[in-house]
């Protein structure tokens, strides 16, 4: 059960934080992700001190909202990215990023372990696909996520095969909806 090639089980760490308020698990997550959040924010135009403050806030939010993380729909990196993105808008643009309605499993249920595993496989596949992109295309995608592409530029095809990961998430949403109703 890995979420990344170095073999750390981020999903297990997230659950330890959620269920046991496990500080060692949080420290491990922090050591890995906080510098990446900071790097991402600096690449998207934050100063070092803004990025530092923002990265700390993001990691505090990870602790606080651990119960909203659903590993059948996202990897830990994806989930932390969305928190960082939204926090960046709060901080830099003095504006908000409205988010879709929360959907979660509730106190007494978990997504199926097989779905969690499949999601991680899809994320690894996506990582390999990104690595294989021609340099120009990869640069375009990075500019979209780190910089400011105009609307017209964003209309350019990214060339990423997102169909299978999308279907996987769609399926996870269906199961969650069934559970919620």
């Amino acid at each position: 059960m890995t979420d990344k090639s170095n073999g750390t089980d981020w999903v297990a760490l997230m659950r330890a934080i959620r269920d046991h308020r496990d500080e060692a698990a949080f420290a491990e997550l922090f050591q890995h992700f906080a510098p990446r959040v900071k790097g991402f924010l600096m690449k998207s135009g934050s100063t070092e001190s803004q990025a530092e403050e923002c990265a700390q806030d993001v990691m505090a939010t990870v602790w606080q909202k651990a119960h909203l993380f659903d590993p059948s729909r996202a990897s830990a990196a994806t989930w932390i990215f969305t928190i960082a993105r939204n926090r960046r808008i709060d901080g830099l643009r003095k504006s908000r990023q409205p988010e879709p309605e929360d959907l979660f499993w509730g106190p007494d249920a978990e997504p199926d372990q097989a779905d969690v595993y499949e999601m991680q496989q899809e994320n690894d596949r996506l990582g390999r696909a990104i690595a294989l992109l021609p340099e120009a295309q990869r640069a375009l995608i990075e500019r979209a996520f780190f910089g400011d592409l105009t609307h017209r530029e964003l209309a350019v095809e990214t060339g990423l095969p997102l169909g299978t990961i999308k279907s996987r998430i769609r399926l996870a949403l269906e199961r969650l909806r069934q559970h919620m109703s």
Partner: protein, 214 residues
Amino acid sequence: MTIRHHISDALLTAYAAGSLPEAFSLVVATHLSLCDDCRARAAALDAVGGRLMEEAAPVALSEGSLAAVMSRLDRRIEVPARPARRADPRAPAPLADYVGGRLEDVRWRALGGGVRQAILPTGGEAIARLLWIPGGQAVPDHGHRGMELTLVLQGAFRDETDRFGPGDLEIADQELEHTPAAEAGIDCICLAATDAPLRFNSFLPKLVQPFFRI
């Protein structure tokens, strides 16, 4: 709810990248709350962002930052309650954050012909507003200088391009001169965002325009 008109890839990518003005993000987030197909597409784009962040060169935090964060964590275990019921079933959470209670209780302002609007308090250069169009009534003929997003919350409207029912999103650019009209029957309520003031083509609404910040 059968949704036929969805968010374009370009718009969804801009949302995932966090580069949309707040008013547009509000419309996108409201549509995502109603449409699991688009929610899954958005989540797939988030996954791209997650990978890019994962692969970005890490920058070490200042010394003591972990301890600083640890010192402010709340140790209580969050018992996740079921998501609260919507105060107004037509207003998913992202919209409810701006509206408060029921859509009827919003501070509506008359635009003439029974059409009403309410500007929502978003930051940034774009404007979000709710539109209430009585069944069978047309919205004054208008074009836009920039992009206009219109999401149907109740009822339906038609214009020169198609029919738009609950959950449907129309993306109109400056090329489109349209005259949306609510279908006969139930009143049509929409959430709309524009990145430039609308330009109305008939005389009276033009006078009204600066006053209502359309």
